[in-house]
């Protein structure tokens, strides 16, 4: 059990560190690569949490496709150099206000998380079957209507991307 905790703490430290790297990075390419690292750690968490199929999807779709799209656009626009981040006049209060609000959000989440009565875990001892077969049967069974809605959403997004970037 203690080795599990050590593993979790190390993974959590990598995850938070890469997220902070995304937040503080001066170069958009580095920020994108920090985000890839964060998604990779997320995939390891999915493996720990009995979601192997989601871990693979996370690596291929998130860390693969989505982040490649980000890197492609950053390099296409040549926008990897970020300005040092000085706020123009009029929004000087924005930076301290953002930090205060962020800390307040974190404190609120911690209060909700640690003051509620812990919910008892499901008593069934064998973990639920999370193989691709079981996931697929659930996806095409009770969740078939949301699945179809999502397919329409993807179609609309594809058309939208083409229409937005076409040359007039």
């Amino acid at each position: 059990m203690s080795s599990d905790i050590i593993l979790l703490v190390i993974l959590g430290a990598i995850s938070i560190g890469s997220a902070l790297g995304l937040l503080l990075s001066r170069n958009a390419i580095y920020a994108a690569l920090f985000l890839v690292l964060n998604f990779g750690v997320g995939a390891v968490f999915y493996l720990i949490l009995n979601a192997p199929f989601l871990a693979v999807i996370q690596v291929t779709v998130y860390a693969g496709a989505i982040m490649v799209l980000f890197l492609f656009v950053i390099m296409l626009l040549g926008a990897e150099r970020l300005s040092p981040g000085e706020n123009p006049p009029g929004v000087q209060y924005q930076r301290p206000l953002a930090i205060i609000l962020g800390v307040a959000l974190l404190v609120l989440a911690a209060v909700v998380l640690f003051t509620r009565q812990p919910i008892a875990a499901a008593s069934a001892t064998p973990p639920v079957d999370s193989s691709p077969l079981a996931v697929g049967l659930t996806l095409y069974g009770p969740y078939v209507f949301p699945f179809e809605v999502v397919s329409i959403l993807l179609l609309v997004a594809m058309i939208g991307a083409v229409v937005l970037t076409r040359n007039k």
Binding site: I5, N38, L54, F70, V73, A121, V135
Partner: protein
């Protein structure tokens, strides 16, 4: 502290970092990546609770969140490219006019 509590706490921290990224950074691409970070932290909480309650529904929701994230990235990056063509900038403070 058990695994669920740890992962949900980590998810809250990651979400907060994503919120700070949206509020602090002025580059549109960085803001988009912070939104991805927030969606990913929500996914982490979904999977943690699916593990806790020993059900598959949380994992199914992660699929839908990933699909919405992919659609959002496609449209959002198309918007950023279009804005960059006219404004030659990805700084959101430069986008103060409603007129294109």
């Amino acid at each position: 502290m058990d695994t669920t509590t740890f992962v949900v706490a980590l998810s809250a921290i990651l979400f907060t970092i994503g919120v700070l990224g949206v509020l602090l950074r002025r580059n549109a691409i960085l803001i988009f990546m912070s939104i991805e970070l927030m969606l990913n932290s929500a996914n982490l909480a979904f999977v943690a609770f699916a593990h806790r309650f020993n059900q598959l529904d949380g994992q199914i929701f992660v699929f839908f969140v990933m699909t919405v994230a992919a659609a959002e990235v496609a449209v959002g990056l198309a918007l950023i490219v279009t804005i960059f063509r006219t404004k030659r900038s990805t700084n959101v403070d430069d986008l103060s006019a409603l007129r294109g």
